[in-house]
Amino acid sequence: MKNLTVSSSPHIVQKSKTTRGIMLDVLIALMPAFVMSVLYFGYHVIINAIVCMGSCLGFELLYSLLLKKDFSKQAVRQSSCWDCSCLVTGLILALNLPRVIVVDGWNLNVYRTMPDISGVRPVDYVAFSGDTIFICIIASLVAIVLVKMLFGGIGKNFANPAATARIFVFLAFASMTYTQTTGLGEWLPASTGATWLSSGSKLTNNQTMFFHMFIGNRGASAVGETCMIALLLGYIYLSIRKVIDWRLPLIIVGSAAVMALLFDGLPRGLSGARLVNNMYAHIMSGGLVFGSVFMATDYSTSPNTFWGSALYGFGIALFTMLIRVFGGYPEGMSFAILIMNCTVPLIDKWIVPRPFGYTKKIKVKSGAKPNTPLSADQKGKGGVAV
């Protein structure tokens, strides 16, 4: 007979869902946020995204080739980088960085003519930033090699690569990562210059501010996190495609809202509309929504069960709000994700679903009648019908 494949069952698989397909879905879901960030922050974001995605792909390919010590065409084809997860890491990383980072002493930037008045920041007049490209490459190296590949590649890393790389950049180049205004600020007069969080949460709570926060017309130190509409689109797309569990982002945002109330709103004596506004502002500022949709739902660094995810999501919200309200940094989302990433192995160890029909092992006391059958009204709970 002709050559037929012999293998273990099942013989059919869901071909529509592959690792690469999932990663491409995430890339598609990131597109609205990417487009909006380009609209708000300009062409720098495109350059950053290309550099980050390219170097993430390059580092993963290089790492897998170096590890195998095989540089043939076949080894290139078999490299794990073609599952596109590195592109997701790259794009999330690019959307997590400011559009331009100027490093003192590197001076690889081309500037537009700056107006000759005091108080002008050079960062707002960069035409092309060589510094940012270098930082993007370094951040990609941290994300892919240090955080992902050294731990065994896709599915084995314990920390979110993009979150770790972002934190690395923010700590290593702390003085350089200014909050940056949106490009639309010149057209829309009500645009808020600084973020609501870094201004000490004391900006006026008026309706225009909320509208601009919702459409993303605000200053931010991470370009992708501003536009709520784009993030919502991404969230809906990922939920419909069943790439992420739709409940996890809701748990994070929901518990963050409650904790904003408990930690920030109530202690400051706000009440009524001001209290609610404070809560809205906390949800829409910083990377809370972006992080909960795209970073907290990362497969390898989040728990595998629903209740595990719920605990994890609650933890992220808790740490985010603790850092925001009591901490030294205006924004704590990526720190919170990283802290909770470390607890995931423990959560997954503790929270394991019980098998179908599981019953607690009844400890039989000596002399007692063993295994008393349950009555019929307990049927459905593993009971024996009598």
Binding site: S85, V352, P355, F356, A385
Partner: protein, 432 residues
């Protein structure tokens, strides 16, 4: 709608054969009847080379309590007793050259039989569970526990297979009477027939037949979901009782049997015909003329496929049974047994022949598992040699339905890993 938690929705692919009436195939010239068509001990051959046998004549005697006799499916001369490969292993086969006459031996039909008579007849006629496992039906119908519910599993949740659906449609009367005999053997006066809601036509015919024949039974529609026909999941869907981990369905007072088993019981009790044939589905993209056929046990697959237009050029996988739990083979010399529900030839587009990649920890397998296990943990544990870990995550509770491997985006062979885990855990257990 009656169903169970978790599970998957593979494409049914039943449309190719769902409307095909059960047909007959050209009679085989030589049959290779396996003596192990059931769970338990292999039957002992009672004929030798040179003997002449008739249709329905006993050629293998049951060996011990969990075993079943085997009957000839043709009349003719025994030309050998030899060891051959079956779909699930290997055993002794009785090779018979047909004389084309099909002279048949039948038992005396029973009129208004008692439960003892039915049980004896089922055992005598070598009836085993024809859903795939092949547990001797007489043993199953005489449990120690008190039984209050009898369910006929007409879910047929495996994609491609339609033979049970056709039997329920075309042999509704015979099938329901057979099921009634089985319920009677259990001392029950009613039973359930569980049917997936993609077979509404069959359900309607069963409903009508129940009224006409005045049989006390209920047709339960279940949601079309895989593995709806898995024993524990079906019991939960119909009665909302959960069979405890490691226990048999009888522990919650339920017995589940299969459609074609009930049909065989009818023929054995009412007409005295022994179990030597069954209906199976031949389907898949690699088959030119698919359909549902009456097949005599011992017919080689190559003959069946030749009668269906041969193996298509594009076929890459030949499967005994359904695509989710069936067995792939490359040889056409294997004979059909009482438990073969289908023969599928799948093309490259339908079947998966590739290799898995790294686990991405997405937990899709855990969300699909009808037993609520963590297949990826078991996979990870057993691949790193941690048998205790695999056991802790419930490897022994796996029903090998294949839902996890079906949904895995990395296409990891999770079921294969769990089978390995089970084997290693058993080996470790017996060493102690």
């Amino acid at each position: 709608m009656n169903t169970f938690p978790h599970g998957i929705h593979p494409p049914g692919h039943k449309e190719r054969t769902a409307e095909m009436p059960i047909a007959y195939l050209p009679e085989p010239e030589i049959v290779y009847i396996p003596l192990l068509q059931h769970v338990g001990k292999e039957a002992v051959p009672v004929v030798g080379k040179g003997d002449t046998v008739k249709v329905g004549q006993k050629i293998g005697e049951a060996d011990g309590s969990i075993s079943a006799p085997v009957f000839s499916s043709v009349s003719g001369e025994v030309i050998g007793v030899e060891k051959r490969v079956t779909a699930t292993g290997h055993c002794m086969h009785v090779v018979i050259r047909s004389d084309g006459a099909f002279e048949e031996i039948t038992s005396e039909p029973l009129r208004n039989p008692s439960s003892g008579q039915i049980l004896r007849r089922i055992a005598e006629c070598g009836i085993v569970g024809q859903g795939g496992a092949g547990f001797p039906t007489a043993v199953k119908l005489s449990p120690k526990e008190k039984i209050d519910t009898f369910i006929i599993n007409g879910a047929e949740c495996e994609p491609y297979l339609t033979c049970d659906c056709r039997v329920m449609t075309e042999y509704a009367k015979e099938f329901l009477h057979g099921a009634r005999y089985m319920a009677c053997a259990l001392g029950l006066d009613m039973f359930y027939v569980a049917v997936e809601d993609n077979k509404t036509e069959a359900a309607r015919i069963l409903q009508d037949t129940l009224l006409q024949e005045k049989i006390n039974a209920e047709v339960v529609l279940c949601r079309t979901k895989y593995p709806q026909g898995a024993e524990k999941q079906l019991i939960y869907a119909v009665t909302k009782r959960k069979v405890r981990v490691g226990k048999l369905p009888a522990s919650v007072g339920v017995i589940v049997s299969n459609v074609q088993t009930a049909l065989s019981v009818y023929y054995a009790v009412a007409e005295g015909i022994r179990s030597y044939r069954r209906v199976l589905t031949v389907s898949g993209g690699g088959v030119k003329s698919p359909g549902n056929f009456w097949v005599r046990t011992g017919t080689r697959v190559s003959e069946i496929l030749a009668a269906c237009g041969g193996i298509g050029e594009d076929a890459v996988k030949m499967i005994f049974g359904g695509p989710m739990m069936g067995f792939a083979h490359s040889e056409g010399d294997i004979a059909v047994s009482k438990t073969t529900g289908g023969i599928l030839l799948l093309t490259q587009e339908e079947a998966f022949t590739g290799e898995g990649s790294s686990c991405i920890n997405c937990a899709a397998c855990a969300r699909a598992c009808p037993m609520h296990l963590m297949p990826m943990y078991i996979d990870g544990c057993i691949l790193s040699g941690d048998e205790a870990g695999a056991e802790k995550y419930g490897a022994m509770n796996c029903i090998e339905c294949g839902s996890c491997a079906y949904v895995c985006p990395a296409h990891r062979p999770l079921v294969q890993s769990i089978r390995l885990a089970k084997k290693k855990i058993r080996a470790r257990g017996s060493k102690r």
